[in-house]
Symmetry: C2
Subunit: 202 residues, 2 copies
DNA sequence: GTCTATATCGTGATAGAC
DNA sequence: GTCTATCACGATATAGAC
């Protein structure tokens, strides 16, 4: 049971240790959040020693930052979606994001951020800043209606709610249903928040 | 600085240690989640020693369970709301829940559960079970439309999204706006999920 | 009942051999 | 570059004095 026997993942002979660590880190952070992720486990998944994390990334913080940076930049994705105007934007937005999140490779950094933000104040700052600056801010600028910030934030809350239900808490039937089912059901919600008539009390 | 000088909260002379611990625990768990909460801090807030936690509750698990059990039972709250029928249920549901969550006394157990569920698998099980059994299940039984489970789950995802935005990540302007603003804006969303015409693809 | 002191463990980081 | 061994620290839980 205590045989050395290193290297167990699919990675055959390439000794791209750094890349292997990043890959394992994204998976672990996505599954357990920042605080819940153990460096030793990440290293074990990558088939290398835990000391290499410090060697390559300086520490846990650096590894987390590097793993998050691997995300497909959603800012340009949003820009692209916005170029087609705001008609049907809700559906298109949700469809694109679901496609991204359903793929463990590109989606786990986001799930990791949401998970980590719940218990880690710095991660919450990161997520809040990212949402406001990269996503909601851009969307708010593109919509031509009163209270664009509130509208974008409401849409964001529904998107985060979907992430929580589908990827974090895994509430059925949302967790396992077809993406298009969600697009059809909650796309209109997003569209109403963005351009529809929402009562803006206060 | 190292003077004993115990007892600092508002609780003047009653030595209800157990109650003080529960009160402090709800606040801490609500703020930092299960994993992020340190028993020493809870004890310090309560003005007693950390060892008392084990004495009264057997350990961290027991303290968490006891603190969660203090929640105003939302099952009967939902039952009461359901008695008035499903017309305007979305608004009434959201108004009642916001009133509850905005009060640190009654709302923090929920926020604590949501926070903890993000990194702690057992807390996620707890939250999922609670949602499905106590909340969404009851709501699903009360609505007379196709796919009641999906409808209830969608409503739940929007409610959790509001919790995340308002209490956990604190995204503006949702975090600080008037409750009635939210009721007016997202109440119709809930109503549509529950009884409106949502496209139920797949 | 309440506190002090301590046992025990898990984790992140580091020094140094190979 | 990579691993072994270890340190330093913080956390829960427990034994026992008062």
């Amino acid at each position: 049971m205590s045989r050395p026997e290193r290297r167990r993942g699919p990675r055959s002979d390439l000794q791209d240790t750094r890349g292997a660590l990043l890959e394992a880190a994204r998976a672990r952070f996505g599954e357990h959040g920042y605080d819940g992720t153990k460096l030793r486990d990440v290293a074990a998944d990558a088939g290398v020693d835990a000391a290499l994390v410090s060697y390559f990334f300086g520490g846990k913080d650096g590894l987390f930052a590097a793993a998050m940076a691997l995300a497909v930049n959603p800012a340009e994705l949003v820009e692209e979606l916005l170029r087609d105007g705001t008609d049907g934007l809700g559906e298109r937005l949700l469809r694109a994001l679901l496609a991204m999140w359903d793929d463990p490779g590109s989606g786990s950094p986001f799930v990791a951020l949401v998970r980590s933000a719940a218990t880690n104040e710095r991660a919450a700052d990161l997520l809040r800043g990212f949402l406001e600056r990269e996503l909601l801010g851009r969307i708010a600028m593109a919509i031509d209606a009163p209270s664009p910030e509130l509208r974008a934030a409401l849409a964001g809350s529904q998107m985060v709610g979907i992430i929580m239900a589908r990827y974090v808490v895994r509430v059925e039937p949302i967790a396992t249903c077809d993406p298009e089912t969600l697009v059809a059901a909650v796309g209109p919600t997003l569209q109403r928040y963005l351009t529809g008539d929402v009562a803006l009390g206060a």
